[in-house]
Amino acid sequence: MKWEERITWIEGYYEQRLSEEERQHFEQLLATDKVLQKEWEDYCTLRQNMEAYWKSQQLKKRIQQAGALFFAEKKQQASTQEKPFGADAAPVRKPKVWHYHLSSMLIAASVAAVVTVFAINFYKVNTLEVKQQNYYQALKRDIDEIREQNASLIKEREKEEEDMPALRQANTSATAFLLSAEGYVVTTYHAVENARSMQLVQYREQDTIQLDAALVHFDKTLDLALLKIEDTAFQPNEYDLKSLRLIAGTIDLGEEVFTLAYPREDLVYGVGAVSAHTGYEGDTLAYEISIPVNPGNSGSPLFDGAGRLVGVITGKHTQSEGAAFAVKSTYLWQFLQHIAEADSSFAACWQHLVAQRYAPLRYYKRPAQIKALRPLVFELKTYSQSALQ
């Protein structure tokens, strides 16, 4: 018997695929053939070790994920929670705080009341406008937290939220785009940094889809994150991924680029040009682009005139000057390549992505390009408190 033939038998026996007759035949052979016996033992050792290896690889990945989540959360707590009371005193400090900061809380309450009255008035005038304003405030608030950590008003509000985690719905919103039929999605890291759970939302003419996703990989320096849709409602065949083409090189200064994003609950198209080959403070990882972006643009794909993916908007410094920044697709390419090398389940998706050689949308007019690409763009909602806990 040749090795391949023997191994076919062994494998069939191991996986219990043999018929009763074959099984008896094989067991007979096994009892008499010393070489086959040895081979069988080796095969079992090999299989068991192979399985243990992949299991532990999977486990390691999950542990790293959990660790990343844990430390991100810890960091967030450290930056929002000043230390007048020790962490150990947390359960008993609540009544004291109520008493101590009563005046500032009254101010907070009255401010909230005024804001509410305003908001209601706005709502009567224009619903969409209120939504946009809310997102704007949400982002603005994040920045205030860092700048004015000592402002007791904000501190109070933070503590209040900390004390009532179940009620907390401090969601942020960004944009993400689909990469493959396996459900891999790319966005910026800062959009998911503090997220405990995330949801991809897409508003279509006929309905609205909501899909749960989980963080798979991220790179803090590049500000990129890879998510995977983990939802049985995900129908890969509904998305035409053939129009997506990622370029490994860079594009020229002055070249026209456009983006599709969800700064509010509707897809927004933005157009402009590459205005510099470096980003914020000379950051060589990014382009500067002259597209008017809104908060919530973070993570939206940047396409060139031929509809090829050339970058990912980070939108970090939108407040400074009306210029936006986008990570170059060169680095997205590297980021994904590294993942593909480390993670075999992503490797197939990567192979598929790089196998495409031309720009399928290059002869399309802009509206047709958008029509082809818009199904790939999602609004990403993140929740800092998991719905499960």
Binding site: E4, L46, S56, K60, R62, I63, A347
Partner: protein, 205 residues
């Protein structure tokens, strides 16, 4: 295979083995760990990480050491609790702390550092691993190296078939082989190579 020593003097040894101290939350958490849930592992981080970090930092380690040890200990814990005869004889956080403690002591010992450590939490003395475990560990390391040597795409191909249980046709499509038969041949070649590497590494040791 793994038994733990007595926990408290007022608990007799027989009691320790027949009446495991378990709370329902620990039981739920155990299930999660066995499944390898990220949420369950995150829970372990929340329960134990701070005390472990405190212990290591107070005993001539750094925060990076603590993170490192904690990750390794989690792997050991997850494997321990997945064993068929595993029985929880203390709280999970105590067990995890004890594993971390032993690992850190071993590392200090290997670096020939002093071993008068300060403890901040109760722990259970864990038995030194027996020979069985040593052999298993050796095989594990050999497989790890063999897989590294094997490289792409063999590694992925084997994983797709043996771990993800994909059909040969699916694999042919995924990896770009012309048909299932070709993919199958390729799979056997990869397996043969892995076998050669694995036993070579194992025999050298």
């Amino acid at each position: 295979m793994h038994r733990f020593g007595k926990i408290e003097s007022h608990v007799s040894p027989t009691q320790t083995s027949t009446m495991p101290i378990q709370s329902s939350t620990d039981e739920q958490l155990l299930e999660g760990i066995r499944r390898g849930d990220t949420a369950a592992i995150l829970q372990l981080y929340k329960m134990s990480y701070h005390s472990v970090e405190h212990f290591i930092v107070q005993n001539s380690g750094s925060e990076a050491d603590a993170q490192d040890i904690f990750q390794e200990a989690l792997i050991v814990l997850c494997e321990k609790v997945s064993q068929p005869h595993f029985m929880l004889t203390s709280s999970l956080s105590t067990l995890l702390y004890s594993i971390c403690r032993r690992m850190w002591l071993k590392r200090l010992r290997d670096a020939k550092r002093h071993l008068d450590v300060d403890d901040f939490q109760e722990f259970i003395p864990l038995e030194e691993e027996n020979e069985d475990w040593e052999a298993m560990e050796q095989q594990r390391r050999a497989m790890h190296r063999a897989m590294e040597e094997l490289g792409s795409p063999c590694k992925e191909l084997l994983k797709a078939y043996y771990f993800e249980h994909r059909s040969m046709q699916e694999i042919a499509d995924l990896f770009g082989y012309t048909n299932a038969k070709n993919a199958k041949n390729q799979k056997y070649k990869c397996l043969q190579r892995l076998k050669r590497y694995f036993f070579k590494i194992l025999d050298v040791k």
